[in-house]
């Protein structure tokens, strides 16, 4: 899952790349959402008294509940979500997937022990670890999205990569996910906590790749190498090298090849089978659909269809579903509020990007004048 320790590293060495914003400030933005990740999140988080929500015949409905209400929350705030589903995992992810399967087996054993001992907290914890998104879940989610009039895309391979390609092509504003490898795939803006519940009052965290690169003074290739060194889903890392050391090494040598050349192999053992070049290729040229061929369309929701699908067997409250459908309809109408920064260009800041003392930071600030006539009006897409 993601890149190990990257959030922390960015927080420490490029704080300017992280911004916090309220969800209502994202009105009018198109956002690509990593569907598998959010469904998983819903299965874990949307529960009642520790148990997943189920239909009359015991089928899980947590994912539908989560998807329905959290999508409406976004739409209600003027956001246009598009969900991206995972395709086939790349072969290189096999190792990672095996590891996950092992962990699951381990959790099953632990669960049996906890059940015997009657330790409810432990049972709960292990139950959550056993959660797996299966095909029924994803198929039901796709059906629900169609009824809601929200578009979805099936990525040929990794959803993260597809999202990033869409951000790069300007099809969407940002990727919403909790996985940091979205940045490694080149998604310029990553939003976290987008699909969290309203009740948590969690502001959206925005990560800007360009600012990360600028603050760390890396090229994209160097950044990818750093991520591989930190630990990604595709290959192992060098034992004994943590986030701090990995950054120091890339700072000094600028690429993994040079790092290996200069590394004291007695102290740090390079994994025997270390396909970092292959991992690099996956990050740089992942298997994605050409974003230009993707036609994103937000349709009118099918209220009756939603009621038929969610109420009845699945035990949803009809009134609330109809209420939700009304909100979706309302958001479809009318105009979108424009933003000033699409008309006026942001002037480059002449402040130092490294953290400094308040006094010295203020000194570096000059009144921004003399910009008149410099920028041209730019129309939003």
């Amino acid at each position: 899952m993601g890149i190990k320790g990257l959030t922390q590293l960015i927080g420490d060495s490029a704080p300017a790349a992280i911004k916090e914003n309220e969800i209502k400030n994202y009105f009018g933005r198109k956002v690509a959402i990593d569907a598998s990740m959010s469904i998983y999140q819903f299965l874990i988080a949307v529960r009642s008294e520790g148990a997943m929500l189920t239909s009359a015949d015991g089928e899980t409905t947590s994912h539908l509940m989560g998807l329905f209400y959290r999508t409406i929350r976004m739409v209600d705030n003027g956001i246009k979500p598009v969900y991206v589903f995972d395709g086939k995992p790349p072969e290189m992810k096999g190792g990672e997937l095996n590891k996950r399967a092992e962990k699951r087996e381990e959790a099953t054993k632990q669960l049996a022990i906890a059940t015997d001992a009657g330790d409810t907290a432990e049972i709960d914890k292990m139950n959550k670890r056993l959660v797996k998104v299966n095909k029924v879940h994803t198929d039901e989610c796709k059906q629900l999205l169609t009824l809601m009039g929200v578009p979805y895309i099936e990525a040929p391979c990794e959803a993260e990569a597809q999202c990033a390609a869409m951000v790069k092509a300007g099809k969407v504003y940002a990727t919403a996910t909790e996985d940091m490898d979205s940045l490694t795939f080149g998604s310029n803006i990553l939003l976290r906590y987008m699909t969290y519940s309203e009740a948590k009052k969690m502001p959206i965290k925005e990560f800007h790749l360009d600012k990360v690169l600028q603050a760390m003074s890396y090229t994209m290739d160097e950044f990818i190498d750093l991520c591989i060194m930190l630990g990604c889903d595709y290959c192992d890392t060098i034992k004994g090298i943590g986030a701090k050391r990995a950054k120091d090494l890339i700072d000094k040598h600028r690429c993994i090849e040079k790092v290996i050349e200069n590394l004291d192999t007695k102290k740090y053992a390079i994994p025997e089978d270390w396909p970092y070049q292959e991992a690099r290729r996956l990050f740089k040229n992942p298997d994605v659909l050409d974003p230009e061929t993707i036609d994103l369309k937000w349709n009118q929701p099918d209220e009756e269809g939603l009621v038929k699908f969610l109420c009845g067997d699945k035990n949803f409250n009809e009134e609330r579903i109809r209420g939700g459908a009304k909100k979706l309809c309302k958001a479809k109408q009318g105009q979108t509020q424009g933003r000033l920064d699409t008309f006026f260009k942001v002037l480059p800041s002449n402040k130092p990007s490294t953290p400094s003392t308040p006094a010295s930071k203020r000194k570096a600030e000059e009144p921004k004048k003399g910009s008149k006539g410099g920028a041209k009006f730019k129309r939003a897409k």
Partner: protein, 261 residues
């Protein structure tokens, strides 16, 4: 060392009213030319640009450029402590992390000073190009405030359309519609009561009432207000502050949805 003394202290109180509804905090950029402030609201839909020229102050001194990040809520609290007749002086040392406001009563028998902590702000500045607008409309500021207030009862947004005949403000909502038409004044005794329209081409744009209503908090700064519009660019609402500068608001228009059939 920075020092600016303003005889008409009430002016700063009014400026504060004009800013604080849209902005929570802002950087006051001081140079030997005067004080400037530019900031967008949180949602990046509107922008406030304030300019107070050095010569408008009774005394003005700015040895080196400085940018003071202030919490406008706190600043407003401090300015509430000044009476309308007071003379206000703003003072700061170079590289200080506080700013001092001094209020003197006209008879000089009471002097109060308040020190406020500054903030470290990381704000984006926008480059605003000089634009020839297709329409400019000058009208009494109280009239504009009234129009915004009245029409915001009808809907969230307001259409401003300017033609040869005059300017029309309209809003539509659940309860019905409202339209206000203003014609160019033929002859007026006082210039500030006139409605003056200059137009190259007709323009019609839609704006959120919420922001327009916030802009009208500057009404007390000026008798008249000027609206400038061009197709598909932000609206400019300018209040001139006599003898010293202006406050300008920019507001992004609402845009038709590309997908909407």
């Amino acid at each position: 060392m920075f020092e600016a003394r303003l005889l008409q202290g009430s002016l700063l109180k009014k400026v504060m009213e004009a800013l604080k509804e849209l902005l929570n905090e802002a950087a006051w950029d001081c140079s030997d030319a005067g004080i400037q402030l530019q900031a967008m609201d949180n949602s990046h839909v509107s922008l406030v640009s304030l300019n107070l020229r050095a010569e408008g102050f009774d005394k003005y001194r700015c040895d080196r450029n400085l940018s003071m990040g202030m919490n406008l809520g706190s600043m407003s609290k401090i300015l509430k402590c000044a009476s309308n007749e007071d003379i206000i002086t703003i003072k700061a040392q170079d590289n200080a992390d506080t700013v001092t406001f001094v209020f003197e009563s006209p008879e000089q028998d009471k002097v109060s000073d308040y020190e406020m902590k500054l903030m470290n702000l990381d704000q984006e500045h926008l480059g605003i190009p000089e634009t020839d607008y297709a329409c400019t409309i000058r009208l009494p500021s109280s009239e504009f405030a009234r129009i915004c207030r009245d029409l915001s009862q009808f809907g969230e947004s307001m259409v401003i359309s300017c033609t040869k005949e005059g300017v029309r403000f309209s809003a539509t909502g659940d309860i019905g519609t409202g339209n206000i038409k203003l014609a160019q004044s033929a002859k007026v005794d006082k210039e500030e009561e006139a409605v003056v329209i200059e137009m190259q081409e007709p323009v019609s744009l839609t704006f959120a009432c919420r922001y327009l209503n916030s802009f009208t908090k500057a009404t007390s700064l000026s008798k008249s207000v000027q609206l400038s519009m061009s197709p598909e660019v932000p609206l400019v609402v300018e209040y001139k502050i006599e003898d010293i500068g202006h406050v300008r608001y920019y507001l992004a228009p609402k845009i038709e949805d590309e997908e909407a059939a």
